[in-house]
Symmetry: C2
């Protein structure tokens, strides 16, 4: 099975637009369903897509063998509830959602009697800006593209979505179970955003920011955040995220206590372990 020439993107925000940009630049015929006419117009005028609609029409949707959903989690569910019957029999579906365990059961319930296959995936790409106007295929270049297969997925369909990840430019296409994906995302992404936000809100220090060095700048780069999207993603991964916050807070407390007691050995041993682990990162 190889990727079809025509691909439908549902949702034309930053992710949908970037997906369209990446696929169009590889010669695919990309079409989109958008929420706003202005987004669609922008995408057409800038060559991201060949065309599309803001109306969801059965004939149009049924003409695609591959559909990429680039929607907020709750909008993905709403869309499928309304239109899943429009999907072409045999179609392969995928998504870009940043949480998996909470969304998969709802999606699977809706399409359980349909002859379509959903292979969930998460391109770990983004920018601190929103909207199709900021779409950019480059965001996928050094990003992980994580496929989170279910036991019910066909190997062939999984391979197809992995191929899609490579086609949009990811140099690191991998598989994780939905549960492990969500734990990993909670720790390396969601917790990171909570830390960045808390650093910015904990102290009203306009005057201090003048002195900010690179460390603080790096730690808070992601503190300029889409509050609607991230609060939804946090809540959709709530229990796992709470666990990861507690894990981190426990470690902060350990360092705080060591400092309070003047326990240099504990401080140093944490720093040594930290240094050792950090050096292993792929650059």
């Amino acid at each position: 099975m190889s990727l079809p020439k025509r691909i439908l993107i549902v949702g034309l925000g930053l992710m949908g637009g970037s997906y369209a940009d990446a696929l169009s630049s590889k010669g695919y015929e990309v079409y989109a369903l958008a929420h706003r006419q202005s987004s669609l117009d922008f995408a057409v005028e800038n060559g991201l897509v060949r065309g599309g609609s803001i109306e969801v029409e059965e004939e149009f949707v049924k003409s695609f063998d591959l559909v990429v959903f680039a929607l907020y989690p709750h909008i993905l569910i709403e869309w499928l509830e309304k239109y899943h019957k429009y999907l072409k029999p045999g179609a392969i579906l995928t998504d870009v959602t940043g949480v998996k365990s909470s969304i998969i059961p709802g999606v699977m319930e809706i399409i359980k009697d349909d002859d379509v296959e959903f292979v969930f995936a998460h391109p770990m790409a983004g920018k601190e800006v929103y909207g199709v106007e900021n779409a950019d295929k480059e965001i996928f270049k050094k990003a992980n593209f994580i496929v989170t297969p279910m036991t019910t997925n066909n190997e062939e369909s999984i391979n197809l979505i992995e191929e899609l990840g490579r086609e949009i430019g990811s140099n690191h296409v991998t598989r994780l179970s939905p549960e492990l994906h969500d734990e990993m995302i909670a720790y390396v992404s969601q917790l990171a955003h909570i830390i960045a936000v808390s650093l910015m809100t904990a102290k009203d220090c306009d005057s201090l920011y003048e002195y900010t060095g690179n460390s603080f700048r790096d730690l808070t780069r992601i503190a300029d955040i889409n509050d609607s999207m991230w609060s939804e993603l946090f809540l959709d991964n709530k229990d796992t995220l709470l666990d990861q916050i507690d894990l981190f807070m426990g470690e902060m407390k350990k360092m705080r206590e060591a400092l309070d007691k003047g326990d240099v050995e504990t401080m140093k041993s944490m720093m040594k372990l930290s240094s050792e682990r950090r050096r292993k990162f792929r650059s």
Copy 2:
């Protein structure tokens, strides 16, 4: 008063070496007192300094009107205890120490009867590598150079050290009281390092790091850390740092509780405040 042509650097690590590099490239005649002959040899061979010694001799030290101490806090105190009488009458001294309130009284006690003036300063520059071999004048380019004057300092001497900051390349030379400096450093630098270290030590997740996105990479860049230096700096700023840790932890707890209760409004309002503040950063 203008900067003397000949300048002595005491301590040839990353900071001392970078200082020497910056000043030599501006045409100053830079000499150094080093702990290891190999460091001095490297600095001479690479044109960072014209010469120097690993022995501290009175005649040599007395030939400088300006001395920059690039030493760990406790070593600065030890050095001054042993050799402060070697300093030239009328000499201006400065340092690179990352904490101020804890070191100033000790230094001032030692030199109180000497005819020298110490203008404390902190070039907020660094790298995740150590030693004179990694010295690089470029680290000062976009860095803040903070002078922390005491009420006893002459305006003329303060100006001289500010001029020194501009000469090594800082485009942001400012003044802060030692107390405000330490609070700022505790928050934007020391706390940032504790967070980065805790993120790396809280979870043994070698397999997860494979999926690390840019957010986590940015937040942990400084987690590869010089444990001797940082544990000393933390302890030298203990009370202030404990306060800043508590401030941050309180805010993390607030976000955790909002998430736990599904209190979207609190989550969003924190994110909005965070975004608003972050956008104000000078780029």
